[in-house]
């Protein structure tokens, strides 16, 4: 379905983009994603899926977990695409100012999104090293284009270039690792890796190959020692694209990591012949927690701050992955779902802040040389870039509900008790403590307390700081219908999770069980 629609789109977009409005494409893409999500959901109930089914001659496979991730990824992708559909009417209303964008690349945006989503869903169900490499390439090549799609902005272009170079480096690392593994053993399918891992004798060459592949995948999710590119890239690209970059590829790769180590029995510190793999994950989790917690304190640009918060979340997820007990996998799944929902919400609110009548979520051409106190440009141009902008745009009079939503989401990310994020952290820490990682639990608690400080700083700016830019007339922030629907739904989910946690928890519990006992 995805492939078909991509082919259709690539034929239709150049032919008709002169005549058709761009948000028709966007809506079509949303429908396509939703429909493929439903198809993936449909597959969940097939009996043989539970055992895991190799398709295309064993080059990729379908398991319960991969189908569930497929459904989730596609649904999230359609939600994030709503962002685009929200912006385009704004472009239409205030045509003259947005002329370069409205005429330009928005029509191709959903097409690229479909490409990367195809890469993601094939990544999740890949069961061979070459399939892994090809689908990661498909996914990231589309992401590089996405990052530079707004080429009039110098910041976006340089961020895209940086992303491209780092991505190329990590892709070549994956290739190097696969080559080593294949050269040493003649094995490229994950079943072969599983056989290798269940052998008693470990081989140093295979160790090396696993380390290299692991490092490359950690590069892709921007976990700690390999995180340096993330804040720059997230900060440089337009916020819509940041939403996509910060959430979707990470979900796909983390899903793949979980599936990979479950399938090949690499996970778990005590059972496997290659304890190097969980050890990489543990070291990376430790560093992610510390770096994400500490460096986030020094940020004054909102997207950089979110990037560091992402890194600290990565720390939690990797910790849960490295434990690889049934509890750990459950915690990892729950944390992943929680992380995706809260991040989507944060970015939606952030974009809604920027959405007041003269602004848009897209960067202006002048945003490259945009210094902190240069407010000559501010009245027209308000993609939110600095934390202090929020206090101007959304102080509590202008749209109290939106500000409250933002605060709730931030509290959830910080892990304040009655909200969704708290339970995710609780599950991870509980599983880690159960498996005996007390030092890491301590570090994680410290890191989450420290990172709570910077979330609280943002909340202080929203509610208690006097607006810096009093000279500009405050205009009322009014997000459009789609935005407010998504924001409202996710926020209610965050708050009301405690009222009825069983559906989500049971579902994830079954998924975790299927990884271990089928």
């Amino acid at each position: 379905m995805l492939l078909l629609s991509i082919l259709l789109f690539s034929a239709v977009v150049p032919l008709t983009s002169v005549h058709m409005s761009t948000h028709v494409f966007n809506r079509l893409a949303i429908l396509v994603l939703l429909y493929s999500s439903v198809l993936a959901w449909n597959m969940l109930y097939l009996e043989p899926i539970g055992v895991g089914l190799g398709i295309y001659g064993g080059l990729s496979h379908v398991t319960l977990l991969s189908q569930a991730f497929d459904t989730f990824i596609l649904a999230c992708a359609s939600i994030i695409l709503l962002l685009g559909s929200g912006v385009i009417p704004v472009l239409g209303q205030h045509g003259s100012w947005f002329e370069p964008i409205a005429k330009g690349r928005v029509a191709e945006y959903p097409l690229i999104i479909l490409f990367t989503t195809l890469g993601m869903s094939s990544l999740v169900s890949s069961s061979d090293l070459v399939t892994l490499f090809l689908s990661i390439e498909l996914q990231s090549l589309a992401l590089y284009i996405l990052a530079t799609i707004y080429r009039d902005s110098e910041a976006a272009t340089s961020a895209g270039l940086k992303y491209f170079i780092v991505g190329a480096l990590s892709s070549s690392l994956i290739l190097l690792g696969s080559c080593l593994l294949y050269g040493l053993t003649g094995v490229s399918s994950f079943e072969g890796v599983y056989l290798l891992c269940s052998m008693a004798v470990a081989n140093s060459g295979i160790h090396l190959a696993l380390v290299i592949i692991g490092i490359a995948l950690l590069f892709k999710v921007a976990a700690a020692p390999f995180h340096n590119w993330a804040p720059d890239v997230y900060d440089g690209v337009p916020t819509i694209v940041t939403t996509w970059l910060a959430i979707m590829p990470k979900v796909a790769i983390l899903a793949f990591l979980g599936e990979f180590q479950g399938f090949t029995h690499l996970g778990g510190v005590y059972e496997t012949a290659y304890p190097i793999w969980p050890n990489i994950l543990l070291v990376s989790a430790l560093l992610s927690l510390v770096i994400g917690g500490l460096l986030g304190l020094a940020q004054y640009r909102i997207k950089r701050l979110l990037a560091y918060s992402t890194i600290s979340h990565m720390g939690f997820i990797l910790l849960a992955l490295a434990i690889h007990t049934q509890e750990g996998i459950e915690a990892y799944l729950f944390y992943l779902v929680q992380y995706v929902l809260t991040s989507i919400n944060i970015f939606f609110v952030l974009l809604a802040f920027g959405d007041h009548p003269y602004g848009s979520a897209w960067d202006t051409p002048s945003s490259a040389g945009f210094s902190l106190f240069d407010n000559a440009e501010l009245p027209k141009n308000s993609p939110i870039r600095y934390i202090s902008h929020i206090s101007r745009n959304s102080n509590i009079q202008s749209n109290p509900a939106l500000a409250l939503t933002f605060a709730i989401t931030l509290f959830s990310m910080a892990g304040t008790p009655p909200l969704l994020g708290f339970f995710a952290k609780l599950m991870v820490l509980y599983a880690a403590g159960h498996a005996g990682f007390f030092f890491l639990v301590g570090v994680a608690i410290m890191a989450s307390v420290i990172s709570a400080a910077y979330y609280l700083r943002v909340i202080r700016v929203i509610f208690f700081d006097t607006p810096q830019f009093t000279d500009t007339p405050t205009c009322r922030v009014r997000p459009n219908g789609n935005h407010s629907m998504v924001i409202g739904t996710i926020t209610l989910l965050i708050i009301l999770f405690i009222a009825n946690p069983l559906p989500i928890l049971n579902c994830l519990h079954l998924l975790a069980l299927s990884l271990f006992y089928w």
């Binding site: 490409f115 498909l138 284009i145 053993t185």
Partner: protein, 192 residues
Amino acid sequence: MNVFLLEILPFVAVIFAISLLTALNPILAVLFLIAVFITVSAYLALLGLTFLALSYLIIYVGAIAILFLFVIMMLDIKLAELSSSGEEASKVYPVAFLIGTPFLWTLTGSPLFRGDTLYSWFDLTTLGIAHISDPSALQWTNLFAAFSNIHSLGVCLYTVYPLWLIYAGIILLLAIIGPIILCLDKTSGSTS
């Protein structure tokens, strides 16, 4: 004839490589580079490594070297600057010699390195799993049927691994669409 060509071609390649280094005109240098690639690919084809030879031709000659050629031709460099920079480059030759000689030495195996050739670093026996892919064990299969490289690769690719071919096709499609999206200027050149 083939043996004679196999003897001759490396020398031709080396001569081209030396003239590539000494050529002052960059366009000439790139042309010599292309010549080196072509001779090497002919050498590989004669050895029977047809796939490698073809990929040399297609990727290096067809894409990369031609790209270099275009880039150099587009850059507007005065010839006088070039000759002066060429003189500066000739000072580097001793260093290149110093770096290159040990490499050659290790490659061919010299007593200086206790018989460790560069090849032996990648030898499977030292890594402890020689029995899995011992080349001598496989040679009797050639008595039955000998496929060319390309034939066997093609059979493999189209019967067992068609999925990868499709993925590669999609990636190429994206690689075509992407630059168009990034470079298309809709404001100036509208078709309607």
